[in-house]
Symmetry: C2
Subunit: 537 residues, 2 copies
Amino acid sequence: MREGLMMDDYPLSLTRIVERAEQFSPGRRVAFRRPDGSVGHTSFGEGIARARRLASALAELGIGAGDAVATLLFNQPEHLELYFALPAMGAVLHTLNPRLHHEELSFIVNDAQDRAIIVDETLLAVFEAFHPARSFEHVIVVRAGDDPLPEGYVDFEALIASAAPMSWPAEDELRAAAMCYTSGTTGRPKGVVYSHRALALHSLMGALPDLMDISRRDVILPVVPMFHANAWGLIYTAALIGSGLVLPGPRLDAESVLDLFESERVTMSAGVPTVWMAILQALDAEPDRWDLGSITRMIVGGAAPSKGMMRGFDRHGLRLIQGWGMTETSPLGSVSRPGLELEDASEEELVDDRVRQGIACPLVEIRGRRDDGELIPWDDAAMGELEVRGPWVARAYHGGQGADKFTEDGWFRTGDVVCINALGNLRICDRSKDLIKSGGEWISSVDLENLLMSHPDVAEAAVIAMPDERWGERPLAVVVVRAGATVEADALREHLAREYAKWQLPDRFEFVSEIPRTATGKFKKTALRELFVSQTV
Amino acid sequence: MREGLMMDDYPLSLTRIVERAEQFSPGRRVAFRRPDGSVGHTSFGEGIARARRLASALAELGIGAGDAVATLLFNQPEHLELYFALPAMGAVLHTLNPRLHHEELSFIVNDAQDRAIIVDETLLAVFEAFHPARSFEHVIVVRAGDDPLPEGYVDFEALIASAAPMSWPAEDELRAAAMCYTSGTTGRPKGVVYSHRALALHSLMGALPDLMDISRRDVILPVVPMFHANAWGLIYTAALIGSGLVLPGPRLDAESVLDLFESERVTMSAGVPTVWMAILQALDAEPDRWDLGSITRMIVGGAAPSKGMMRGFDRHGLRLIQGWGMTETSPLGSVSRPGLELEDASEEELVDDRVRQGIACPLVEIRGRRDDGELIPWDDAAMGELEVRGPWVARAYHGGQGADKFTEDGWFRTGDVVCINALGNLRICDRSKDLIKSGGEWISSVDLENLLMSHPDVAEAAVIAMPDERWGERPLAVVVVRAGATVEADALREHLAREYAKWQLPDRFEFVSEIPRTATGKFKKTALRELFVSQTV
């Protein structure tokens, strides 16, 4: 073999990204909302100077290379400082989702062997609920007011004030930089352990024009929490590229977010569909209240947005762009943007394209596989479980759990059931566990839900599988009627029958006031299944 | 150390990029101009299918892993096929610049130990001039017509027709993928050996919004030759992203290029200032002849463009964007784009910013160093030699030549003398060997040249150092007067005196009809120095 003679040992690491921001964008603004609602401003330079002191202080507390440190924080400057400090000092940033059940959190902090935890004072109640399960060596609190801290807790600010800045240690791109647990709707949470290499590459890739299209001229407001898969990569991408950041803190209601969009001249944002739905409703109610002229696009992910939501934002001159990904994919796997081939497409064709999950990111490979092990053709009709591989995809979970999620030839099994068109554009039909397997055929619950939600009288709809002696499983639709409207099962069945064969239609329609959701905002189908199965029996 | 659990052994390789294009963009169009002037069309899919057959045929001829294969070709489909085939089969793509002197080419093909060469038939005369110096095992000719080939030469098309498609071998990201020799104005050419890792990362980075901003909606026409530092990365970036390509072949005159811009609906292009100067003249002469509405930006690099050229294109609604790089940096080192801080800048401030060399690419580090070894402050006043490091920067030359170009602590010495402003934005003042060192102070030849060329009666100007007993060196200006104009030395001295101190002004002005240029279009200052020193003596 003839070797290249380039600087191939130059590490792909988050340390390089932190130093990049410090050197090239020290003055770039970071705006943030405090718990009391007021807005403050800091900068990358200031944040990284504090991160260097924080790292020294943590090292003095005994936190060393490879040690996991948990965070129970919102999108706030202290979280940003930990995003910088922990990976750069060689430790592991472990973000916790405060919306999880305390038993899940107990399991997670023990599984990760977190040695210390940093908690926002307003989340102390959440912390206290799982605290007894884990003896943290250090509990560090970001204080919201001046009340004295309970004994044994360390003040985050006092820690920073006490220490000298750290010179970052030498890097290794294979070293763990961060951890995040999947909050699956079934099974125990599983830990994803991000390497520096994976996150550095993901940061570069995420800024591409066909992905999130991020430049030095952007001001980014991640509504997506920093405890959700690295806030979809936006934090490190902003630091690498030199974009401004706006951190909304705990207030994620539509009005608070829209106020920040306007006052901070935000150019791009990202969040889950429920967030955007609330924002759309606020805009519909007061279309002239906010000047959103600075915004050029908003990424929606975590669950599929409806055409209606996209069209709703179009009416306000705002562009919703869909991304797909998972905690296991760092998380960006694909983004849906029209290619050259849609240059002359109609508005209707464009919307059809926009609700697809899009083309896999550069360097990410995809394939679909059926139950019998065969790969599906890229004909947009065959359904199979999506498998992916690439430099920012997990190769295993922490502690070797969930080994069945990885194929023998080294692909990650996403659990999403997809069709793939001839251009490699993904369309998620369902989660494999939510598919309805009726008489040997698959029925997509997601497709039925989307069509149901396009009915003017339906606010929300979930379709679940009911056990059936003859067919194995049959679909049941759970419907929330729009406020002030009334609708009957027959009308909905008729609505669906325009696009579906008779055998694909739900046998039952149940009307409820609310569909239960998981901590990450997804329909809690396990709960629905239990509810209606027990009602049947 | 705690290791990450991501797919960190997933290779960053050009093979992945070739497979990406094959899978996701097989139908993406590649337009090309034949030597006879006609325009043809092929696609990535077709090109890669041919590349797989070509690779098998080359393997049958004995070309194996690590073997260098030379190309003497224009921007044409066969060159594209070799860009795909050679790195993916594990061999090394070695592009030759046909404009070099035959003695340089003799040296280069022997230094690289090229085992085979692929020559365009119209370049056979160039080949014959250095052929005797190297016993190639195989000479493969891309034929322009139907004339029988001289004995011993292999027909490129016959080779492809004879072979079955190759399945690419397993990759190693550290393996050499390509070679390119620097055509320095002094010293022997030195070989840069690109690794797969460096070029894969460069391909990803080059598409960023702050760099070349390349998406699946782009149609790219590289005027920059494919034998110049990977055509600035555009070929592999287009394959990775899925952009269309337009290959202009040997015809790089303004009319031919502008015709392709229009007919192929090109969205971006890239080339050296002399190319753009000719194109600007053609547009000025016939402003309404071409519909260039599809073009959104044009990259200029290889030498600094003048403000006049930028403003000239502005008048036609076309945007020239400057990049800086070297063969040793793969080649993109920086691109000049306005940041958030220039949001409210005047047109004049924006042009001042655009003629700077810009912010270093993400993951590229820069520093400036004085003769005495001290690093310069980022104050835009201190001058120092630019040193860089990063994942796509050379760590050595082939055969260990030019070891003095690399510092002990692992940085590459560019030979460019720069100022750096507080934002990390570069301004190249000179090549270190072209600086005039007068009485212990540095005078930038480039700055004097630019100011001279802003005089309405000056077409071109070069400033060189003349040996001086008292001061060490003193500046001499070589001027080409604009056609139809007349100007005297005193008027030019007065023009310069508005911005320069007396001791910085040239002592002599020499008027010539033409300034000699190197094969890559740069002023041949060594030749000028020899000419005028001998005249002085």
